[in-house]
Amino acid sequence: MRFDARAFVVPIVLIALWAIASSLHLVDPHVIVPPATVAATLVQMLGGADYWTAVGSSLARVCGGFVLGGAVGLVAGVVLGISRIAERIGAPTLNGARSVALFAWIPLLTAWFGDGEIAKVALIALAAFFPVALNTERGCRQVPAALLEVGRVLEFDRWTTVRRIVLPAASRSIITGLQLGLTTAWIGTIGAEYLIDQGTGIGIALSSARIDNRMDMILIYMLTLALMGLALNLVVRRSVVDD
């Protein structure tokens, strides 16, 4: 991976334009906040506790929701993947539910579980559930017949077959599902926080910054989300390399 300076031309030009337009008062300072103000706010926020509380809350939420949704998705995927009858009963309903845009579940979840943590984590879990279940099912279905025959020859019971043959053979597909699940769980976290703005979290902080008309804070939180998304991607990629 070679360093390519051309990548920095556009961002530098944009920031320069931004600085010039701000200092010449060509733009509304509430909409296009001067870069200096953003930098000052950034220093102030990084020094305060609120910012780190929001980051921590969001991370905790995405982990909780991902573990919950991923675990349920894994079990559902294996059951649907190894049993033809379970697949025929469950798959149509699952595919139907998957067609609903994720955040359309929020009104229902908040009505049932209130505006607290449960509704948010339930939505994040739902976000992680579908890709994990789908990829696990696909992986379990595509286990080579020869491997299953070996299990039959060795007279494995069902549980042993799943544990010793199906899961290892499906591991690549399952990992893909988990990676996708983590990405969708992250999007789900931001959306859940933004739409159910109770408690702490980056999405909630974004929402209140919008209400206070603080564009500088919005920009900083957006940057934070990009960096966290990037970090999440790195974690995911690292896990593939290890595999």
Partner: protein, 280 residues
Amino acid sequence: MATRFASFVKPIATWPAARSANRAAFRWWIDPRAIALGLLLPATIVVVWSIAVRLEIMRPQILPSPLTVLGTARDLFVGGDLFAALGISLQRVILGLAAGSLLGIVIGIATGRSRAIDAYLGPTIRGVCQIPTIAWLPFFMIVFGIGEGLKLALIAKASFLPLFVNTSAAMRAAPERFHEVADVLELDRWQRLRLVVLPAALPLVASGFRLGLSNAWHVLIVAEMVAAAAGIGHLMAWSRTLFQLDVVFVTIVVIGITGWTMDAIMRWVEGRLSPWTANA
């Protein structure tokens, strides 16, 4: 090469496996036993739901009976409210998708054909696209207010990325040896475009379009829930505020069916544009 960010955002093509799965799903509609099995779980849910309502496990305000929901669905369909809301939402999706995909395809072609343009523009675009679309909502709300501009910008942003990434990759999709064959056959520029470049590019662009449409639909629902006075997402959020959960149930189903239908249409288009992979 400046591919540091590029590798995070990969072109997404529909796998052949997914296509055969679709065909398998299609067969179910013909097999009555499969239909019966498929309806078993939804039927069970409705039964449990009815019992829960009868026993008043949850307040009727937050768990209306299946019959109430059915009645509400009929009223909404007959009264035309639902189609009016859905029409507004679809119009927003189409306009935003048109803007986002046009931009994505143009910039995708530019970065795909020219290494220099890609070196200048690519990293910035891919970096900015690391910000999830939902996080742009407050930003756009301050810049555009809560009018139609907001939805248009948000949907355009949501559909831009897959089209940009896939179009850019599509320009380089034809294997080098295909171009060599074209050299040997002495194809002119137009023939080469028609026989080599486009056939390799179209399936990727089509799946980018399909993904862009799906992204657009998802993000529009959020935008309408937060900042709109009309549309299916607004109908849902407003009904939730009024605790009309029957309407919420109906809108969830309508959002699901609409999303599924749009995806089915795009799958069909994708199949038409790449018949050889559909038959693979």
